[in-house]
Subunit: 452 residues, 2 copies
């Protein structure tokens, strides 16, 4: 496809200035969980789009504002990009090698909170549009961006937003926020996302912390109540014990298993990267590990808090205890269903004192692996990465793709600049500049081939 | 006993200046768990004793120094006071109505960390000596003080210190660090202390925290491992499940039960003070509640820490999790025995990945309720409090009385300025000034009657 030589040259020659723009975006904190900098970041993203001739509207929701932008192109086809400008909390701060909101370029990588998830994708896609506009003065088709600010807090208001703005968001296809290469540098096409139901479970057993010598024998202990309640949710065999939890889980199809079997084995890579000594459930690798990773719903304790947590001993019986717990859902599970079953289960087990606070959720959704747009995205990758994308039936993470798939009726393709050591959601989040450039090149091709 | 009129007048007239001295002592932080201000506090306590003509030695141990002080008196009898100058951590700071290390006098109460536990006792006892010295110019008997700096961190080095300094510490009787009145203003004589074994249990399942969308289905989760391990230690029926844990627990004697039955019912008081809705084990009050409070060994979760603990959701699978756990022990249990049984139990349950860090322990010990010195302390209370002390066979808390009872062979009596709302180990720790004065008056009587 030597028709892309000019675009590629433009991107290679202007990489530095795009990375400078990305660095400005990363330097603006936008931590949803801590209500830190969201509006400022939405404004900044809006300015970046206006610079490219987009008509930008910053639309308010009951939560963080959504940046919507649209620019007409040469024909009537419309491609919608879904991205988000919010980021995960930077904690634990002491593990960062450079401050999370002071982007730092080292060894061909740019470090900072949100640099991969998801600000790098916003910047790289705008960079691709720069190449198209530089060459042709206009876009080959209509381009829309919907960039929300609540993705890292479970996109609580996005579903409603999509339902209320179906005409505005109407399109023919959608490029999702993320994507990237696997351990073998093969770009991956994720065809769906697991759902999520995120809750905080809390217990208050006393009105004040009490000396443990006094209360230990006769007062209820919030930390014990929480521990016992949690231990009824999942057994050491990793089986989730909430009655009916698995009722709506659709097992993987034969095609799903075939797609997963075609992927490289991940066992050794995971063991060395994350320090896994042994996988759970007796898994050792191969297709079964890959199937389990994606098609098994989860109940994960994300955090525990109670009583004294400082250095040394403190003899106190805590009045309060809480746990953050996320459930990853498989089609056709829904967050509402899990919430209801969880409450029923805790009550039945004698834990009506355990409060459930719903912190957000999204149902799972998948796109047809054979959709024509999916194949455009998959095939155009070959020219950039040397190989076509490898299709993966679903990814373990979650996101608000459900309304795009089921309410807007769009095929949703993934593509991105991620790689296995991106450390999203963890300290030292980073992107590789070579993959940033490749993603921009890929997007130029996707837009042009889609517009044909 | 009008022979005490002069002493009482002295104490009443000089209360303000004693409270000023106590305030200086409380203003000096001495948080053992945080290694904060211990040496400075030991020096300050030494100066307070030197001012009263004591020969003071600040003796080093492998941990915090021990302040030893001695002053000869009119006869050869020797009374030993055991106290400690270290205090509990002040956290959670936001719940204090005045800063923990800025003693604040409000409504007849002095607030500050350590004001009751145990600095108020040190100051009140020195105040009693002031009254004796003012009147007679000398002490009626030999007085020794041993004031350690590791009581709140389980007196790790005190047992060894006592064994190495048996001649120095030789005495005829011992007054313990604490004591006080109950809900009905009756002074209580605690005849023993439960033991303690304090551990931190920790699990490390990965080398780094991981996105919960990735790890939830296939990686071991430290928070789950900890939750499951804890849930094997004690069941919802409050029965501790470590094999052999109860083997060496001696049940209360008939006399123990009688002494407890004579005490006022505590159920309503506990419910209103600590917000207890229901006691555990089906207890409702009466003698059974009192027996259970004291004669039942415990396994208390004092703290839980893992993963994300901030506001809102964070989708992370934690690499580490830990719990602070204390066991209160009944004669003849020992910390070493519990540690060994705990390790064996965790291994047998498949939790060899759970690390045990021993943060300190003391065996339980009791004094004979009929010892003559106990009766001196009990009887002299009547003149100050209007009633004699009420004997309680043991208290729920722990302390290093074992070497004093079993190695020095001393009867150990308790007496003090505490009251049920002292909030020791909790925010807004405080003493009542009227009880401070009463304790000093009581000590004058104890010393003079003991010396007779």
């Amino acid at each position: 496809m030597n028709e892309y030589h000019g675009y590629d040259t433009y991107l290679e020659q202007n990489l530095d200035s795009s990375i400078r723009e990305l660095s400005q975006l990363v330097a603006q904190p936008s931590v949803g969980a801590q209500d830190w900098g969201l509006k400022e970041c939405a404004t900044l993203v809006g300015q970046m789009l206006e610079k490219r001739g987009f008509a930008v509207r910053v639309l308010s929701t009951e939560g963080a504002p959504v940046v919507f932008a649209e620019r007409k192109g040469k024909n009537d086809k419309t491609l919608l990009f879904y991205n988000h400008y919010d980021v995960q909390p930077p904690e634990p701060l002491e593990l960062w090698e450079s401050p999370p909101f002071e982007p730092d370029l080292r060894d061909g990588k740019l470090y900072g909170r949100g640099v991969s998830d998801d600000k790098g994708h916003i910047a790289a896609r705008l960079f691709a549009l720069d190449a198209l506009l530089d060459s042709e003065g206009e876009l080959p088709c209509n381009i829309k961006f919907v960039i929300e600010g609540e993705e890292e807090t479970a996109s609580v208001h996005l579903h409603q937003f999509v339902l209320e703005n179906k005409a505005l968001l109407a399109a023919d296809a959608c490029v999702w926020e993320f994507g990237g290469v696997n351990e073998e540098e093969i770009p991956i096409q994720y065809l769906g996302l697991r759902g999520i139901c995120y809750v905080e479970l809390s217990v208050e057993s006393l009105s004040t912390d009490v000396h443990s010598g006094l209360g230990g024998s006769i007062f209820p202990n919030a930390a014990w109540r929480l521990t016992w309640a949690l231990s009824t949710l999942k057994g050491q065999d990793e089986r989730i014990r909430i009655p009916g939890f698995y009722d709506n889980v659709r097992p993987p199809s034969e095609l799903d298993r075939e797609l997963l079997a075609a992927l490289p084995d991940i066992a050794q890579e995971y063991k060395s990267r994350y320090g896994v000594k042994e996988f759970i459930k007796g898994l050792t690798g191969g297709t079964e590990l890959k199937v389990e990773e994606i098609f098994s719903p989860t109940c994960t304790i994300c955090g525990l808090t109670s009583g004294y947590q400082g250095a040394g001993p403190k003899t106190v019986q805590p009045a309060r205890a809480s746990a953050k717990v996320d459930f990853r859902l498989i089609p056709d599970q829904t967050p509402a269903e899990v919430l209801e079953k969880l409450r029923t289960h805790l009550d039945a087990e004698g834990f009506s004192d355990v409060q459930i606070e719903f912190l957000g959720g999204e149902p799972p959704a998948r796109t047809d692996p054979d959709a024509p747009f999916i194949n455009i995205v998959v095939d155009t990758a070959r020219d950039v990465y040397g190989v076509p994308m490898q299709k993966v039936p679903m990814t373990g993470g979650s996101g608000p793709n459900y309304p795009f798939v089921h309410d807007l009726g769009l095929p949703v393709a993934t593509a991105g600049l991620g790689y296995p050591d991106s450390r999203v959601h963890a300290p030292n989040e980073n992107i590789r500049l070579d993959l940033y450039l490749k993603h921009a090149k890929h997007m130029v091709r996707v837009i042009r081939e889609f517009a044909k």
